[in-house]
């Protein structure tokens, strides 16, 4: 049976009258990697901060391991590892002091894992946090987030602004947490190919709402990308059933559409066209269709 680690129910939150989260529901199941995607300002970080008890739910409920992170921060945070987007770390500490400081909060701290990662990353433990490069900061933050082998690892834009080497270190930590310990991971990213490769479940947020959420392979198979030829030219994208986004011009159009291919094909034929080729859409195509500019047009239409 799939065990629920995170259960967010119809969570809403606004800041100074601006809606940041609008009836968001989100579940994370044990042993799975959950990818969170969406444009800047879509609400990803706000959602993650609620899981950590850093923000209190205005309406709706947040449960992590069945606990309320605001009412029971120790019960939740001792079992969670978190790497924030800004990588806030105490600047005045040395790297080894940061490790001892973090260890103090976590009885399950694994010193040999900490040492192994310090060595792999070639991090100098005597260096001050404020002297670290951007990549080294991320590595130090990562060790602090994973060395207690948390049941739930939350990474907010872990790859943001990092070179390929450090991005790989991050992916390595995710893979190890899941493969070796059966842990649960939630990570947000704007790198859609990374999310597509690394996630078992994907949730797309758009303007404070969950636009879609599900098992990645199911999400992908629910959307198709088809190439369509028409007998006549179209100056404007032709209206087609289930179409979410269209690119092209004249007689040839590429269309991202949802639902059954039969229904779509029927609609194309009715307009004097034929479907030349169809395949499951990529996450990026779905993302752009649901949250991009053309998606907004399609919603408005």
């Amino acid at each position: 049976m799939e065990k629920t680690v995170v259960d967010v129910n119809t969570l809403s939150r606004s800041f100074d009258g601006m809606t940041a989260l609008d009836t968001v529901s989100f579940r994370a199941t044990a042993g799975q990697v959950h990818g969170l995607v969406g444009s800047n300002g879509a609400g990803k970080t706000t959602l993650l901060k609620h899981l950590l008890g850093l923000l209190r739910a205005t309406t709706g409920s947040v449960r992590v391991f069945g606990l309320d992170p605001v009412r029971d921060p120790v019960g939740v945070l001792s079992r969670v590892g978190y790497l924030s987007e800004e990588r806030e770390l105490p600047e005045w500490m040395r790297v080894d002091e940061l490790m001892r400081y973090t260890q103090a909060f976590h009885p399950t701290w694994d010193v040999s894992y900490e040492r192994e990662l310090l060595k792999t990353f070639a991090l100098d433990p005597t260096k001050k946090v404020k002297e670290l490069s951007k990549g080294m900061r991320a590595q130090a933050g990562l060790i602090a987030a994973v060395a207690h082998r948390p049941e739930l690892l939350i990474l907010d834009e872990p790859s943001s602004g990092l070179d390929a080497v450090v991005r790989r270190d991050i992916l390595d930590a995710i893979v190890r947490a899941v493969a070796d310990d059966g842990r649960t991971v939630i990570f947000s990213s704007h790198l859609l190919d990374e999310v597509e490769r690394m996630s078992d479940h994907v949730t797309l947020m758009h303007q404070g709402r969950v636009a879609l959420s599900g098992v990645l392979d199911d999400v992908r198979s629910g959307y198709q990308r088809s190439r369509v030829h028409f007998a006549q030219n179209f100056d404007q994208p032709p209206v087609l059933d289930t179409a979410l986004a269209m690119e092209g011009g004249g007689r040839t159009w590429s269309v991202v559409h949802s639902g059954s291919l039969e229904q779509f094909r029927h609609s194309v034929v009715a307009r004097g066209g034929e479907v030349v080729e169809s395949r499951d859409a990529t996450l990026e195509e779905i993302f752009l269709a649901r949250a991009g500019r053309s998606g907004q047009q399609a919603e408005a239409a």
Partner: protein, 138 residues
């Protein structure tokens, strides 16, 4: 293990892995009894979630291409990868061919061009197998 993931071709990642392992076994590039990389190793190499490898290996085990030995690892099974039905094998290949033809059409290659290029690639691959690369020699 030489596997490449193509996110653009619309085939689920676990299925791409299943297809390519089947191909590697059927073509003799990996031999019966040979050990497959552990889940963590392959997940890291391909930069995919470990559960995708678990799913792919699970499906390969069900179709008797590989088997797990308790406490040791995952190995290529002895015998016939042809246990995969002809229909299934055709379906896998036809999917790829359809994509190839559509792409070729888009890029202005004729079907004859494509057939010739497939043969050329095959010849080039055979030569690579005959002469191991620098990396494999080490």
């Amino acid at each position: 293990m030489d596997i490449t993931i193509n996110l653009a071709d619309g085939v689920p990642i676990y299925r791409q892995i299943v297809n390519q392992v089947k191909y590697l076994v059927a073509s003799g590039l990996i031999q019966p009894g040979e050990e497959l990389p552990p889940i963590r190793t392959l997940a890291l190499q391909l930069k995919v979630t470990p559960n995708t490898i678990v799913k792919a290996y699970g499906e390969l085990e069900v179709s008797c291409v590989i088997h797990k030995r308790r406490g040791s690892g995952t190995f290529v099974s002895e015998g016939r990868p042809q246990q995969v039905t002809l229909r299934e094998r055709r379906r896998v290949i036809e999917q790829r061919i359809d994509g190839l033809l559509a792409e070729a059409h888009q890029l202005n290659f004729s079907t004859e061009d494509i057939l010739r290029m497939v043969r050329e690639r095959k010849t080039a691959m055979d030569e690579t197998v005959a002469e191991p690369t620098e990396r494999e020699k080490r």
